[in-house]
């Protein structure tokens, strides 16, 4: 580089230096401005979400009485809803994570390639079903199916506090909601896991097999260590989705107001989630209730933002990027 620099003819003193680059054309300036502006709109929109929710939510923070469903103040109101939101999401993840990892393994390592591609399409199909359709199915079909199981659970495992009942024969419980959420989260976690599993260096896998490892030992000692950060982020992205999912829970879950804070999973007295509460109450809400609901939406936004931020940061640190 230095030789070319010295070889460059120096402009004589007093004259402006020769421009090596062609002057920027007006078309270029406009186009660059447009694309930069579009990128800025995204930043503004994201900031706008936080700002407008805060502006409209602040009056709700001081609310009491009917606007906060009879709770003492907004903190108690939000706290109870956050409990229900977390409970439903945790149930969903407990069910969805092992199933998703299993499905991802089938597609990346177990199924023959001819079968793997259609299986991938099937999972995309699972992701394409709108949440309101899941809700309809969850309440009119799945819930009724689960109702029988809840009766059995109460009769046989009623000594466990989780299943102490009385069982909701209609199946509109937090457990049903969690299971429907699991179904909606599975495609997300599976898609990411399968991508990460497929990225595992072939040499690592072949080395493990050459040392006499069985297929499971190869997966355990070559694939999982490589995919660990991706699996963690996939689960967290699934958590973010489960926390914010609205319609399926709003339709399936039977809960009013802030719900009942309980660990009993199979009764008609259930905790409520933030998103479901907003969806159910907003259409009829007026005055201060609207501000309270928006403030609870802000709480949900902050929680999901933090979860997503952490998930993306974990992957970014390991130098990968997720395609989902």
């Amino acid at each position: 580089m230095s030789s070319t620099d010295t070889a460059k003819p120096r402009p004589p003193k007093g004259e402006p230096p020769v421009k090596r680059r062609s002057p920027e054309r007006p078309g270029d300036k406009i186009f660059k401005g447009l694309s930069f502006g579009a990128a800025m709109i995204i930043l503004v929109a994201l900031a706008g979400v936080a700002i407008f929710l805060t502006v409209e939510g602040i009056p709700g923070l001081g609310a009491s009485g009917g606007a906060v469903a009879g709770e003492a103040n907004f903190l108690v109101y939000a706290g109870r809803l956050v409990y229900g939101t977390l409970l439903a999401a945790v149930i969903a993840l407990i069910v969805a994570t092992p199933l998703s990892i299993g499905m991802a393994l089938v597609i990346s390592h177990y199924a023959p390639r001819r079968l793997a591609t259609p299986l991938g399409y099937m999972i995309d199909l699972l992701a394409a079903v709108p949440s309101v359709v899941y809700g309809l199915w969850g309440i009119l079909f799945f819930g009724r199916f689960m109702g029988d199981i809840y009766v059995w659970l109460e009769a046989n495992l009623g000594f466990i506090p989780l299943f102490s009942g009385p069982a909701a024969t209609g199946g509109r419980t937090i457990l049903t909601a969690g299971l429907v959420l699991a179904l909606m989260v599975i495609p997300i976690i599976t898609a990411i896991c399968r991508e990460i599993f497929a990225q595992t260096p072939t040499l690592h896998q072949e080395a493990a097999l050459a040392l006499g490892a069985t297929r499971w030992e190869m997966i355990r000692y070559a694939v999982f260590p490589y995919a660990k950060s991706g699996m963690v982020s996939a689960t967290m992205l699934g958590l973010g989705r489960a926390l914010g999912e609205t319609m399926a829970v709003a339709m399936v879950l039977s809960a009013s107001g802030t719900g009942v804070m309980t660990l009993n999973l199979i009764t008609t007295q259930n905790p409520n989630t933030i998103a479901a509460n907003i969806a159910r109450s907003f259409p009829e809400a007026t005055g201060l209730s609207v501000n309270v609901l928006i403030a609870s939406g802000l709480v949900l936004f902050l929680i999901t933002f933090a979860v997503n931020f952490a998930a993306r940061a974990i992957v970014a640190r390991s130098g990968k990027r997720l395609n989902a």
């Binding site: 990128a39 699972l126 989902a324």
Partner: protein, 359 residues
């Protein structure tokens, strides 16, 4: 050495075998058939429910195959087979609800479909009078179209900035990261944002279709940015350099070389993004509201949409409830058909207009 001399002709049992005992290759299939047969006996002969019989069959399969393997092949192979059995059963477990959902939809939704179902609105429909989804279809199409018109230019220009101008600088990296995070915004929060924004201009209780379009854009933009960005990155640098070498300005290079090359991928991405937001309910419930009448004006009054129609047909089915439920199923079937068609369309576009790679 001494042992060798002691025993110069080893019998067959002294040799280390080079292969361990293995189960026959048909073993998993055999166990699966046996487990299914057991489940079938439970179901048909002993009269237990289908779900319970299937569950028992799955458990028997997961237990029996590793046990057999343990007896013949040893513990390591048994664990291997156990995991293999578990992952396949996990796959089945996840697909049973999908099949059940599609089956229920077809079963209950098909009877609702008729020409009137698509051409009638719900205006003045009481009891079991014929009602339809025309008003909801109009709303869904208009709102989704408006959301697409907002999202596609912003999304594509942002992707152009990220790939062509930003190219790894700090601003571009931040935006990329925030776009990723933005994909996780809950849909209901997007609806609340649109409401909070429009309240400033139109006062409390505002409901309009355009608000729904803004909310859907919040959900759609990150999807469009992500897919377009991936496609632009696939365009080889040689193409850009060839254009520069001919003296073509950068913006002409982008519009005439880069975008046409990646057009099929971008259209596919946009179609998938539309498919994703067309089924969104929560934001429209909040800002577009619900009505029984046809409304063609995005900027005034409530606007019915298909997903919100499904929600209300279930929660407020009317008296008697059966026709309301039937309309909910019918609308759900229509909605899912639209989503599937968009998905298939996206794949076809991707295939049909893919750049020819032949040299």
């Amino acid at each position: 050495m001494t042992t060798l001399e002691k025993n110069p002709t080893p019998t067959e049992s002294d040799l280390l075998p080079l292969t361990g005992p293995r189960l026959p290759t048909y073993a998993p299939a055999l166990v699966a058939v046996a487990a299914l047969a057991l489940g079938g006996v439970l179901w048909l002969v002993l009269g237990s429910s289908v779900a319970l019989s299937a569950f028992v069959a799955a458990v028997v399969f997961v237990v029996a195959l590793p046990s057999w393997s343990r007896a013949v092949e040893g513990s390591r192979s048994a664990v291997d087979r156990l995991v293999a059995a578990l992952v396949w059963v996990a796959l089945l477990f996840a697909f049973v609800p999908l099949v059940s959902l599609l089956w229920t939809l077809l079963d209950k939704g098909l009877p609702a479909l008729s020409p009137e179902f698509f051409t009638f609105s719900m205006r003045s429909v009481f009891g079991d009078a014929q009602g339809g989804i025309y008003h909801a279809l109009v709303g869904t199409v208009l709102i989704t179209l408006a959301a697409t018109l907002i999202s596609v230019p912003i999304g594509i220009f942002t992707a152009i900035y990220l790939v062509e101008y930003g190219a790894g600088n700090r601003v571009a990296k931040t935006i990329t990261f925030l776009v990723d995070v933005m994909t996780g915004i809950p849909s209901i929060v997007a609806g609340l944002f649109a409401y909070a924004l429009f309240v400033l201009f139109f006062g409390p209780g505002v409901r309009m279709g355009f608000g729904g379009a803004v909310a859907l854009s919040i959900l759609m933009i990150p999807v469009v940015v992500r897919s377009t960005e991936e496609m632009l990155k696939l365009v080889p640098d040689e193409l850009r350099e060839a254009a520069y070498a001919l003296g073509v300005p950068k913006w002409r290079t982008i519009t005439k070389v880069v975008l046409p090359t990646s057009m099929s991928g971008i259209v596919t991405g946009v179609t998938l993004a539309i498919a994703r937001v067309i089924g969104e309910t929560a934001p429209l419930l909040i800002i577009a509201g619900k009505t029984d009448s046809v409304n063609f004006n995005l900027f005034d009054e409530r606007m019915a949409t298909l997903p919100v129609f499904i929600y209300y047909s279930y929660t407020q089915p009317g008296i008697p409830a059966a026709p309301g439920y039937e309309r909910a199923w019918g609308a759900a079937l229509v909605l899912i058909a639209i989503v599937m068609i968009l998905n298939v369309l996206a794949r076809l576009i991707g295939k049909a207009f893919a750049p020819k790679t032949g040299r």
